[in-house]
């Protein structure tokens, strides 16, 4: 029967995978979609740290939502799922505190070591009783972009928010607006429905329309690398290449090429690889040896990549360090 063939094909595929949940430290990492360029780097960092777990006979398991439509509740469910799956330690981002905090509290109540990373800051870690926070401070990342663009003379800026409601994205935008204001500019927010995140066409069209309606805007701040590329495309479609300047969160090869080509002014790097790597490594060592990191709030950003250091960063990418 055809059905049997399907099942056989999938079985072969699955057999090649390794078995999970061995004796050593089993760390569960909650994060974004694996096909999100930024999160794939966080995942790689976590997996590289996981080599140490495997050395001890343990494992690192990545749990991510299929999409970002229902981000807070979906992530909260993944946290509870990690508890159910018998995690020795859990790494998670505090994206939507109202929805996710009860799940994190359940982790701590179950006596499972917890590290908050990527979003929430040390405040979230303290509030929830987590061991540490590993990540960039969202507000400062946005602020750095605002100051950078305003000091370069582009004083009317808009933050392109494609994930309304996520606490870290709101912080990017308010930081950007304050950074603009601190350097004598003005900032605003272009709000898109949550479905727009990762949908380059929708973001580009919204940016194009917004720029044509608001000709005074000379600076944009995008909250992710896909959105940055979409915003650049929107600027191009509005016929404003060169007069509207872009900074964006995160980077990948195409962002670096943008900076080399001059279509993008700067990228704010929160160094996702480091977030996945250190958050996971802290917990592996804690479960295996009981060690702790007394330094609280391990910052991985913001770092600014622009024309002055882009060559160095590209060398770092080729060496596998970024």
């Amino acid at each position: 029967m055809k059905t049997t063939k399907f099942l056989a094909a999938t079985a072969v595929l699955a057999m090649s995978a390794t078995m999970a949940l061995a004796d050593g430290p089993n760390i569960f990492v909650i994060g974004g979609k694996p096909d999100d360029p930024f999160w794939s780097r966080v995942k790689l960092g976590a997996e590289h740290a996981g080599l140490v777990a495997e050395m001890h006979g343990g494992s690192v398991t990545w749990l991510g939502p299929q999409n970002y439509d229902n981000l807070g509740p979906d992530a909260a469910e993944l946290i509870r799922q990690a508890i159910d799956q018998g995690a020795d330690a859990i790494v998670g981002p505090d994206w939507v505190p109202e929805a996710m905090d009860p799940a994190f509290e359940a982790v701590v109540a179950a006596g499972i070591p917890l590290v908050i990373y990527n979003a929430g800051g040390i405040e979230a870690a303290d509030r929830l009783g987590a061991m540490n926070y590993v990540g960039a401070v969202d507000y400062k990342s946005g602020e750095a972009a605002g100051i950078y663009l305003a000091e370069a003379g582009h004083t009317n800026g808009a933050c392109v928010n494609t994930l309304p409601g996520a606490a870290n994205i709101e912080a990017f935008c308010s930081g950007f607006n304050d950074g603009m204001a601190a350097s004598g500019g003005t900032g605003s927010v272009l709000q898109l429905p949550a479905t727009a995140f990762g949908d380059s066409t929708a973001v580009a069209q919204a940016v194009r329309a917004h720029l044509l309606q608001n000709p005074d805007i000379t600076a944009l701040f995008a909250i992710g690398d896909q959105d940055t590329n979409a915003s650049i495309s929107g600027i191009q479609q509005a016929g404003k290449t060169g007069s509207v300047h872009v900074c964006g969160m995160n980077f990948n090869d195409s962002i670096l090429a943008n900076i080399q080509a001059g279509t993008q002014d700067c990228a704010i790097d929160q160094q996702g690889y480091q977030q996945g790597f250190f958050a996971t490594a802290i917990l592996i060592n804690n479960v295996q040896y009981g060690t702790t990191i007394p330094t609280r709030e391990i910052l991985t950003g913001p770092g600014i990549i622009d024309a002055s250091n882009v060559e160095l960063v590209i060398a770092g990418v080729q060496a596998g360090a970024r």
Binding site: F6, L13, A14, M19, W62, R80, Q81, A166, E170, A194
Partner: protein, 353 residues
């Protein structure tokens, strides 16, 4: 032997077998720990979320229509609750009434447009889907200034609609799903309305000529789908103390796929509540169970696609089996529809008329 072949011909048989197949695959080939999987809440919670909406959507699809505006109605229900009772701090009852009311309104609009125009309901509900996404985002920005609204529900509301049961991770929504499944089972399989729905899915014109109030039934079914979706949204807002604007695009596909896995024909006229119930369960296990296996997450969507295809292929072959076997021997008197579709399934021949 006769008992077994009789069971196999029921519309729910294929979906039950797909469920067993999926479980066997995960446990035997992908290294899932059956104990951990059975004890975990994530997939049951997810099954309840899509299952509550899948029940009325299944009935609607049996009647030959479709509703994709459900995707927007889940966040609409959540946002209505959170704006009324969270932002304006009115008693939670008003937020709940508001959420149900928005389901009633949009469902009525869908239903009236469906019976008054010749536009396919896929297009009508596509319009209300996109329209409601706009209403929810614009309304939220206008009223609250943000796209995410926190909500603190009182204890009794949490216990009833949005709490975890027995100190574990299972949501109370699961009980609602089970309860509603029983109600829908009576509605479709034990009341005359059920036969009407099958008849509508077989041939709308003949159903109308036979005296079935096709228009009123269609409007009722659209109200049920929209209200079920806004109800799930409301429970979610109460459970997770917040609501956010979102498109809900993924929910549309997941709900309709689980209905199809449950053995309902996209063309209408065939399906059962048991099948839809098991379909939601199967889809949830396919979707969430992959996290319990050793399969690399990068492969997960491929596996989900293949397993769904296998489940639907199984449905197809079992339905053919049922079609070939059922009418000839035991159900001699029951006519087929004009296009060869069976208007009356074996499950529906229970009304005593």
């Amino acid at each position: 032997m006769d008992l077994i072949s009789g069971l196999l011909r029921r519309p729910a048989a294929a979906s039950v077998l797909s469920l067993i197949g999926v479980l066997a695959f995960y446990v035997l080939f992908a290294g899932a720990d059956i104990g951990k999987l059975a004890g975990a809440a994530s997939w049951v919670n997810y099954a309840a979320r899509i299952g509550i909406v899948a029940l009325p959507v299944g009935l609607l699809m049996i009647s030959g229509e479709i509703d994709i505006s459900i995707g927007a109605m889940i966040p609409a229900g959540a946002m209505t609750t959170a704006i009324i009772s969270g932002y304006y701090e009115m008693p939670i009852v008003f937020g709940m009434i508001g959420a149900i009311a928005i389901g009633l309104i949009v469902g009525t609009i869908n239903g009236i447009l469906a019976v008054r125009t010749n536009v396919p309901t896929l297009i009508i509900t596509l319009a209300t889907l996109v329209g409601m996404q706009g209403v929810v985002l614009a309304g939220s920005k206008l009223l609250t200034g943000t796209a995410s609204v926190p909500l603190t529900a009182p204890e009794w509301a949490k216990t009833l609609f949005g709490d975890l049961m027995f100190g574990g991770s299972h949501q109370v929504l699961i009980l609602w799903w089970a309860g509603l499944a029983v109600v829908f089972w009576f509605f479709l399989h034990q009341s005359r309305f059920g036969n009407w729905i099958y008849a509508m899915g077989g041939d709308k014109e003949s159903a109308r000529n036979a005296g079935i109030p096709v228009d009123r039934m269609t409007i009722l079914l659209f109200i049920l789908t929209a209200t079920a979706a806004s109800f799930v949204g409301m429970c979610n807002a109460i459970q997770f103390n917040s609501a956010q604007v979102s498109g809900g695009m993924n929910d549309i596909f997941n709900i309709i796929v689980s209905v199809v896995v449950g053995g309902v024909l996209l063309t209408g006229g065939f399906g059962s509540v048991t099948g839809v119930f098991v379909g939601a369960l199967t889809f949830a296990i396919v979707n969430k169970g992959i996290d319990f296996t050793a399969i690399d997450r990068n492969w997960s969507n491929l596996i989900i696609g293949i397993m769904l295809l296998a489940a639907v292929a199984m449905n197809e072959s079992f339905r053919n089996l049922a079609m070939r076997a059922a009418p000839s021997k035991r159900r001699k008197a029951k006519p087929e529809g004009p296009d060869g579709s069976i208007v009356v399934s074996s499950d529906s021949i229970t009304s005593k008329k």
